[in-house]
Structures are given as structure tokens and as C-alpha cells.
Amino acid sequence: MNAAQELGRRHRLQWWEALPWIASIACFFLFPTYLAFGTQVLITILFALSLDLVLGYAGIVTLGHAAFFGAGAYTVGMLAMHWGWSEPLSGLVAAALVAGAIGLASGLVLLRTHGLALLMLTLCTMALLEQAANMGAAWTGGFDGMPGLSFTKILGLFSFDVLYFRSQYLYALAVLFLCFVMVRMLVYSSFGQSLTGIRENLLRMHAVGAPVRTRQVLAYTVSAALAGVAGALFTQANGYANLAVLGLERSAGVMIVLILGGYGRLYGAFVGAVAYMVLEHVLAKAYPTAWQLGLGLTLVLVALYARGGVLGIFVSLRRRLVGSAR
């Protein structure tokens, strides 16, 4: 098989790519009482997917991705609280624009650095936003956040369902699907290929004349906008936004989700979010210390032995099986 065919094969839709969507729709009918939790999972998947674009494809290690999630969440919340702009779809667009603008502005200056400096800069950017949200209490609600926000009907048809989250679940699923299709097209475009090139060998990409910085900034901006959409969904679905949407905990959390699932694979976000959040849901409340211990050990083991995460293990197992059959 030559390289062109190999690439073509990789980009084609595979049968199993329908599975996550079938499973999410099945969950809607199978677990009608767990849809509030399911909505949070879908939002986390979108957030992790946005991180995959920078971390998995462009190879930018960031500790501050929650900055964009928070920017989106606060944008929607503040629009609804101060200006009565509570139409959900345009809220998503506004959140994407604001988060994307922050991503573009910070990306332009931050991405000149790498290593520890970049880690610290992303962390500081996020901490700054967090402190700003904490201090500007008149606008952001400060430490208490903005409780009790309400939004108008989605498309003027489906009202937000406070009790069972039915409409929120389907809404989040639809938004996730649209964003996913976009990310998938982006990743398999020549732009996505050049991102992978930058991740794998920065010097060589410079040498072949690729506009490395521009592409990194662009990927960072798109990723920020998507994270903003995830944050906006969070505020709309739950009806509140508070400081917890920003912060190291959320940044580290989404990174863990993505890496457990497998980064640079698109579907790692799905596997990681479901596995992490279901385990957390079951364990964290009943045995918080055991959950921390288990999570810590898992992270150590993944870093040492299974760098591809769950999907990586799956792929290498499959390769081994197929390889032995040949």
C-alpha cells in the first residue's frame, strides 16, 4: 500500500465511528433518569475534544485550557444576567467568539515560548482570568458565581428541562456532533496534517517552509473557541456558572480525561470522558480517598506503560491480533 492510499484509508469513515453516536442516543432511552449526568459527560467530551486539537495534534502542552471553558461559561452567563440575552444558540456563538478571541490574543504572544515557560504562561493566563472573575463581583458574581440563570427555548421549540435534562442532553449531543464533524474535517485536512508534522518534528516543518507559528496560533484559536462552546453549554444546561469553571482543577481534569482515553485520536475524548466520569460518579462520593489513590496510580501507570491511553492499548492489541493472523 503506498502512502497516498494509506492516507486515504485513514481518512475514510470507518464502521465503528457510528458507535459513540448510537450509544449516546441509546443512553437517552435506556437511562432516562441519568440524563443530567449524561449531559455533563457530553460537555466534558467536547471540552476534551477541543484540548485534543492543541495537545494531541498540535503538540502544545497547556495547563490553562480551562481559561477558555470559563470564558465561554461566563460569557453566556453574563449576557443572560446583565443584558437578558438568553437565546441559547446565539449565546453559543458569542461564547465561541469571546473564547476564540482570547485564544487568538494569548496564542499570538504565548506560543513564542515552549517548555516550562509555556506551561507557566498558560497557567498564569488562566489564573488571571480566575482572579478577574473573582474580583469583578458586580459583573461575575465573584466567589458565589451566577446562580439561577434561565435561557429561552432552544430554536424556540424545546425548553430547558430542569428536572430530567432531556432537552439539554439532546442539545449537547447535537452541538457535540456538529463540533466533532468540524474537528474531524479539520484534523484530516492538509492543515491537520501540518499540525501533526509540527508536533512530530518542529525543525523539519520549519525547514520545509511551513508557517509553523501561524498554524499553531490558528489551532489554538479554534480549540479555544470549541472549549468556549463547551463552557457555554455547561452554563446553559446547568443554569449557573461559578469559579469552578476556571481553575487548575478543571484544566488538569480535562487533561487527565483526554490522556486516559488516548490523545491525538479524536475518539480518546469520548472513551476518556465516559470512563473517568462514570468511575468518578460511582467512586468519588463513596470512597474519595480510594478514588484519588486509584486515579493517581492509574496516571502513573499510563505515563510509564500506556502512553496511548485506553484507545492506545486497544489499537496495539488489535494490531497484534491482526499481525499474527497475517
Binding site: L55, V61, L63, V109, L110, R112, T113, G115, L116, A117, L119, M120, L121, L123, C124, T125, A127, L128, Q131, A132, N134, M135, L248, E249, A252, M255, I256, I259, Y263, T289, A290, Q292, L293, L295, G296, L297, T298, L299, V300, L301, V302, A303, L304, R307
Partner: protein, 290 residues
């Protein structure tokens, strides 16, 4: 503002800065040597703090002996972890190192919560460190003055060790250019184990000494992670004197801002770090490309 209150604020800030220095100096050297992003450094400080506080409480060790015990215990744990786990990840990507050390933080937090409990530990200072000392122009807390003395002494000792000994010269050479140092016959792996143990031991001492100021509970490693990293990033990796001045700067700034802007004082520190790192990604005292 009169002179004595200004001096009081400065002394308080410097004392806090000394704690930051004692905890962070090891992180700076190990990061400079191997480029290893060790986010779990603060967890070693926490372990040390617990070892020191508990050995005083349960075994009745005097404060200095407890500090020594904390240093040795944590340095030993660090050597074991370095040989078995850290060594496998030297060539790994930054991401793997971040992931691994975050995992390690979780494990240590869980271990401490299981073994000791989630509540905050308090240090019972010995009689001779309590109360005030009269300096002539101002009377100040003896413990803060002792911290300043200890930090300065440590700085001098480390400076002498780095500038005047063979091992110090090897460490400086390896921080500047690891490959070159290796090809000149410096055993960088052994150096790293040594500095890692020393740095973790110092972090442990810092955890114990600073428990009075920073507090001590299982959330310690995450709460102060950003602070330790900021000190290292601002001071420049692998620069002992850089870390010293950065720690004092951050300590004093933080102390002053917390008094005058109790609500958003830390914002200025983040903003300053941001601007500084954009202008000088290698830190205030770091060398370009090192």
C-alpha cells in the same frame, strides 16, 4: 507609613520568601539538570512537613532533630522513587512527565489522607522560637527572624557548594550543557540522583519550617504548586541565586499585596509573572538556550 511597620511588612515577606526558597531550590536544580517537569515537588514538601510535625508530636523529637529526620526520610523516599520511576521518564515527553507527577501527587495526597487524616496539622514550636525578639528598631516574631537566618545560611551554604566544590562545578556544567558535560566524563545520572535527593530533602525541611506560614494539610501540593513553579520560572531553571531572589521577590510581593489588596492580590503576581516570562522566557537569571 512609619519605618517600623514598613520593616515589619518587609520582614514578614522575607520570611515567607525564605520558605519558598527552601522548598523551590531543589525543583529549580533538578529541572535545570534534566529538564524534568516535576510537579510533585510540593508533595515532597508536604510529606516532609508531616514527617516533621508527627515525629515531634508522637516521638517527642526536638524541633531541629525533627527537621533532620524529615530531611533524611524524604530524601530516602526520593532516591527510591527516582531510581524506580523517575529514571524511566527522563527521555519521555513533557506531557508524560506532567501526567506522571500529577499522578504521584494524587497518590501522596491519598496516602497522607489514609495514614494521618484530612485535617490540618499544627506545628508546636519550641519555647525558644516563640515570642518576640527585640532588634533595636523593631521587635519582631522570633520565628520569622529564625526563618530568615536559616534561609540565608542555606543560601550561603548552597552557593559555596555550587561555586567551590567539584560536584557543584559538575552540576553547573551539566545545567549549562548536559551533553557536553557527559562527554567530558561527568556522570549526570548520578548527579541527578544526588541533587534530586538533596532537593527533595530541602523541600521536606521547607514543608516543616513553613507549616506555620503555609499550613499543612493533604491539599498542600496542589494549593502551592503554582507558587513553587512561578518561583522557579521567574528565577530561571538551575540557578540557585536566581531562585533565592525570585523567592524573596514573590514572598514580599505576596505578603504586601495580601495586606493591601486582600481580595485579588495574587492577580498582580500572576500578571507580573506573565509579563516577565513573555519578555524573558528563561527567567530573570536564566541563560538563554540553557
Amino acid at each position: 507609613m512609619d519605618v517600623s511597620s514598613l520593616a515589619g511588612i518587609l520582614l514578614g515577606g522575607i520570611a515567607a520568601g525564605m520558605v519558598l526558597f527552601i522548598v523551590s531550590v531543589g525543583l529549580s536544580v533538578t529541572m535545570g539538570l534534566m529538564g524534568f517537569v516535576n510537579l510533585a515537588h510540593g508533595a515532597f514538601a508536604m510529606l516532609g512537613g508531616y514527617a516533621i510535625v508527627l515525629s515531634m508530636k508522637h516521638w517527642g523529637l526536638p524541633f531541629p532533630a525533627a527537621l533532620a529526620f524529615g530531611f533524611i526520610a524524604v530524601a530516602a523516599i526520593a532516591v527510591v522513587l527516582e531510581k524506580t520511576l523517575y529514571a524511566r521518564l527522563y527521555r519521555a515527553t513533557e506531557l508524560d512527565q506532567v501526567l506522571f507527577t500529577i499522578g504521584l501527587i494524587f497518590v501522596m495526597i491519598a496516602a497522607v489522607t489514609l495514614g494521618v487524616g484530612p485535617e490540618t496539622q499544627t506545628v508546636v514550636l519550641p519555647e525558644w522560637l516563640r515570642g518576640q525578639t527585640d532588634l533595636g528598631f523593631i521587635s519582631y516574631r522570633s520565628y520569622s527572624l529564625a526563618l530568615i537566618l536559616a534561609g540565608t545560611a542555606l543560601m550561603l551554604a548552597l552557593w559555596l557548594g555550587f561555586e567551590r566544590t567539584r560536584i557543584g562545578a559538575q552540576i553547573r556544567a551539566a545545567v549549562d550543557n548536559r551533553r557536553m558535560a557527559q562527554s567530558m566524563g561527568v556522570d549526570v545520572g548520578r548527579l541527578f540522583t544526588l541533587t534530586f535527593a538533596l532537593g527533595s530533602g530541602l523541600a521536606a525541611v521547607g514543608g516543616g519550617l513553613g507549616a506555620e506560614i503555609l499550613g499543612l494539610d493533604p491539599q498542600y501540593p496542589f494549593r502551592y504548586l503554582a507558587y513553587f513553579l512561578i518561583v522557579v520560572a521567574v528565577g530561571g531553571m538551575g540557578r540557585v541565586s536566581g531562585v533565592f531572589f525570585a523567592a524573596l521577590l514573590i514572598g514580599v510581593l505576596d505578603f504586601v499585596l495580601k495586606i493591601h489588596f486582600p481580595k485579588g492580590g495574587t492577580m498582580f503576581i500572576y500578571a507580573l509573572t506573565l509579563i516577565l516570562l513573555l519578555a524573558r522566557p528563561q527567567g530573570l537569571f536564566g541563560r538563554k538556550g540553557a
